[in-house]
Symmetry: C2
Subunit: 174 residues, 2 copies
């Protein structure tokens, strides 16, 4: 796929970030260049063509970038998912295990209407733990999960296995 | 101004968040409704009509929502400003005082070319401390600061005084 290859070529490998042995995929070069940014959003939007979607849900912070632009492009609502204590109104909460300890995500209880079709969008699919937690938040909202869409999938981490309950797509795969 | 009044009516007051005595302006109702979200972006974009802008800079996390969509809408680059330790590549850093302690913001050293015209975008102008720090980051990049643009200005906090070095605009004022 030509568009994806072009985007892939602009993504920067950062060795040993955030810790030794991890090669971090730095997507900021895609954002800094207006044309590449636009092509990135087009590639994500192309994955949504045949999906009936009422809203896009995304997790802070990088997820907000892609989720917000995609929601605006597709003309659907935007649902923000944040770390505990950041959202001001009544929330649903879900905790999930990290390598060390746990983390808690929240969503506003009025973020979408029950029955709304919600697509979960994030920049990178790694182990899938965060997105599995987002699925649970969407279920608490009684939303229909349309699936998950990523710019990048790190397939060697097998995150797709953890979130295969709903359709999963990615523009770029490593 | 009619558009601004409509947006203002949708913003939700949350008393005592994040702490006692503060009335938090919750902008999530503007995001959840596709039409209001679109009108919010139009109102922000209308403030940029006569400005020559090469890039938009925004601070995590809510700033990413408005900054990203506005950059995409105006077809300019996007610069992410993050808390210390989040950006993977070589950064410039600026520390600034909070009510208790200090905070550090970072930007990638290659985020924009020297001389590029950068507009700083955020959801809320409160005390102005964060944006003053962002100005200093932009100056380290040798960017030209085109000004700062906010969805909401809390004028009773006099943040504008702290960032009047460059032009300041807001769609909604309290």
């Amino acid at each position: 796929m030509k568009a994806a290859e072009k985007l892939k070529a602009a993504i920067r490998d950062i060795p040993d970030f955030p810790k030794k042995g991890i090669i971090f995929k730095d997507i900021t070069p895609l954002l800094q260049d207006a044309r590449l940014f636009s092509e990135t959003i087009e590639a994500l939007a192309a994955c949504c063509r045949d999906k009936p979607i009422d809203a896009i849900a995304c997790v802070e912070a990088r997820g907000f970038v892609f989720g917000a632009v995609l929601a605006h492009t597709l003309n659907v609502g935007l649902v923000l998912i944040r770390k505990k204590g950041k959202l001001p109104y009544a929330t649903h909460q879900v905790s999930y295990d990290l390598e060390y300890g746990t983390d808690t995500l929240e969503v506003h209880q009025d973020a979408v209407k029950a029955g709304a079709s919600v697509l979960v969008v994030d920049d990178v699919l790694a182990t899938g733990g965060t997105i599995a937690a987002v699925y649970r938040l969407m279920e608490k909202l009684e939303a229909k999960v349309a699936g998950a869409l990523f710019l990048i999938e790190l397939s060697f981490l097998h995150g797709r296995e953890k979130i295969k309950k709903y359709p999963v797509e990615a523009v770029i795969t490593y």
